[in-house]
């Protein structure tokens, strides 16, 4: 399991046109990896995330995305993702194809992908317009009860990127706190890149706390702070004030582009990005 720089990992595992899942449910969102994808000017990506959050708002606004698979697309506790809305409502900077699910449906699709099954089953969707709006939602009949249940096709991202608190030098990855669908999204993917707060010699205790064993991990990237403005439990808290500020930054195309230019494109890496935020504060 190689340890790479973030630039190397993105160059190797995120080609134009790839299907990419940056997972992490509110906690441990891999912002640094998303910024590096933006810096490397990736195009035509099929982005997959339960909650696009600010990171996909930024990637969509910077023109990285062709399609989006998601289940809830807001700024948590604040309001809209303005760049996502602009893409859907006005096709700016490019039209965005939506593959929309409920949380339960997308969780079932990741789990099916991780399980090597072609579809997931759930009691859901029935009677909603979402089932009609998304042709991927179908149904099966229970061979025991005759009940009709909803199905979703398995999701198999080309690459899933996670942020975690710790990896050891073998590449075993450990997370504490909210896990979300990180395990399922990683095991569903053809390649797995994990950015981490720290690389330790040995994860102690091994065992139940480990999210992914080394041999399913394609690359580990040491990237402290790489989840900000999301958070890493035990390392730094969620920057709720930034999430609130993002509403104004992202509302207009000009202010959004100016902020991305100044803080993301003008920064060589995530440390200099964070430094630029500090200077601006």
């Amino acid at each position: 399991m190689p340890t790479l720089s973030l630039a190397e990992a993105v160059a190797r595992f995120v080609p134009d046109g790839a299907s990419v899942a940056l997972e992490g449910f509110t906690h441990l969102i891999p912002f640094a990896a998303g910024h590096e994808i933006i810096r490397q000017r990736r195009r035509d990506l099929h982005l997959i995330r339960m909650t696009p959050d600010l990171i996909y708002d930024q990637m969509i606004g910077m023109g990285c995305a062709r399609a989006l698979t998601f289940s809830w697309g807001g700024n948590p506790g604040v309001g809209s993702l303005h760049r996502l809305r602009d893409a859907v409502e006005h096709g700016w900077p490019a039209p965005l194809v939506l593959d929309e699910h409920s949380h339960a449906g997308l969780a079932a699709a990741y789990t099916a992908g991780a399980s090597g099954l072609p579809f997931g089953v759930l009691r859901g969707y029935l009677g909603t317009d979402l089932a009609a709006a998304n042709p991927n939602v179908k149904s099966v009949v229970c061979p025991y009860t005759g009940e009709t249940l909803a199905t979703v096709p398995a999701i198999r991202p080309d690459v899933t990127i996670l942020h975690a608190q710790r990896a050891d030098r073998h590449g075993n990855v450990a997370i504490e706190g909210i896990v979300g669908a990180a395990r399922e999204a990683a095991l569903a993917a053809r390649a797995v890149v994990v950015t981490v707060e720290e690389v330790v010699d040995e994860l102690l205790p091994l065992g139940n706390g480990v999210l992914l064993p080394h041999w399913v991990v394609s690359a580990v990237v040491h990237c402290p702070g790489g989840a900000h403005p999301s958070y890493a439990l035990g390392h730094y808290p969620r920057d709720n004030a930034f999430y609130q500020r993002w509403d104004a930054i992202s509302r207009e195309r000009a202010s959004f582009l100016h902020w991305m230019e100044r803080h993301v494109l003008a920064s060589a890496d995530y440390r200099s990005f964070l430094a630029s935020l500090k200077d601006a504060a």
Binding site: F25, T26, H27, T51, S71, W72, G73, G74, P76, G77, V78, S80, L81, L84, R85, E89, E100, H101, S102, H103, A104, A107, Y110, T111, L122, R123, G124, L126, G127, T128, D129, L130, A133, G177, I178, V179, G180, A181, A182, R183, E184, P224, G225, H228, Y231, A232, L233, H235, Y236, P237, R238, D239, N240, A241, Y243, Q244, L274, A275, L277, K278
Partner: protein
């Protein structure tokens, strides 16, 4: 009791619907405030489940997001998200689900997806999240949302969730489904609200119960607890965090 806002009346009315040891699937915003108010007043053993996988959370301040660290740090356990939806919600282990939306119709179905046509919306809303399955699997659901003719509508632009709420808590009072028709009917008003106000706020001809109750005034304890909670929360969320550098 002057200066009680309608937000406070809504939150306190919603909290009163909850009982001790109830298992609640909690959404962010007013439902989260109501559930924690109940926990801090009459329902100390209420079980709060946030879809982030934090089960039995007892946050000291209200989370801004559904997955703030405060929730994980105070939870009885933290489980993967698929388990929350499979093992807890779909399995029927949730007593109460709280929902809000951009639009509700007269039977309680909800739209949180789009205004306008799905393919070419005038307003793209965040989408369903956990709402469709909360509406389908919680033993009962309460809807909390402010009423305007554009949110309480004759016809939904999009049916995100098929919901038959036990009650709709809004900013003039409470609607509950009528025994036979299931049509949402005005059954209670806040002391400072009127039937005319309610009718004006609802986009369909609002049915009014023969006897409309008055929602009791907030108690000193309810109001003080809620205002302390909000004050703690706003201070916490405003507090600039040290950048991890």
């Amino acid at each position: 009791m002057n200066g009680v806002t309608r937000d406070e009346r809504m939150t306190i009315a919603a909290a009163r619907l909850l009982w001790d040891r109830a298992v609640c699937f909690v959404g962010i915003g007013l439902p989260s405030a109501a559930c924690n108010l109940a926990r801090l007043t009459h329902a100390p053993e209420i079980v709060l489940i946030y879809e982030s996988g934090t089960i039995g959370a007892k946050p000291h301040v209200l989370p801004l997001s559904i997955g703030d660290g405060e929730l994980a740090e105070t939870a009885a356990c933290v489980v993967p998200l698929p388990e929350v939806f499979n093992f807890y919600l779909q399995a029927g282990r949730v007593d109460v689900g709280f929902l809000g939306a951009a639009q509700i119709d007269r039977f309680g179905d909800l739209n949180s997806t789009v205004i306008g046509d799905y393919a070419h919306p005038s307003i793209r809303l965040p989408g369903s999240g956990g709402a469709p399955e909360i509406a389908a699997h919680a033993k009962q659901t309460f809807v909390v949302m402010k009423a305007t003719p554009r949110s309480f509508v004759e016809q939904l632009d999009f049916r995100t969730s098929v919901c038959r709420p036990r009650a709709v808590i809004t900013d003039f009072g409470i609607l509950t489904p009528a025994p036979e028709s299931d049509e949402l009917t005005l059954t209670a008003l806040y002391p400072d609200a009127t039937v005319e106000e309610a009718r004006a706020a609802v986009g369909w001809p609002l049915a009014v119960a023969s006897e409309v109750d008055v929602v009791p005034q907030p108690t000193e304890r309810e109001l003080a607890t809620l205002r302390d909670l909000h004050a703690r929360t706003e201070a916490a969320h405003r507090r600039p965090v040290e950048l991890p550098i």
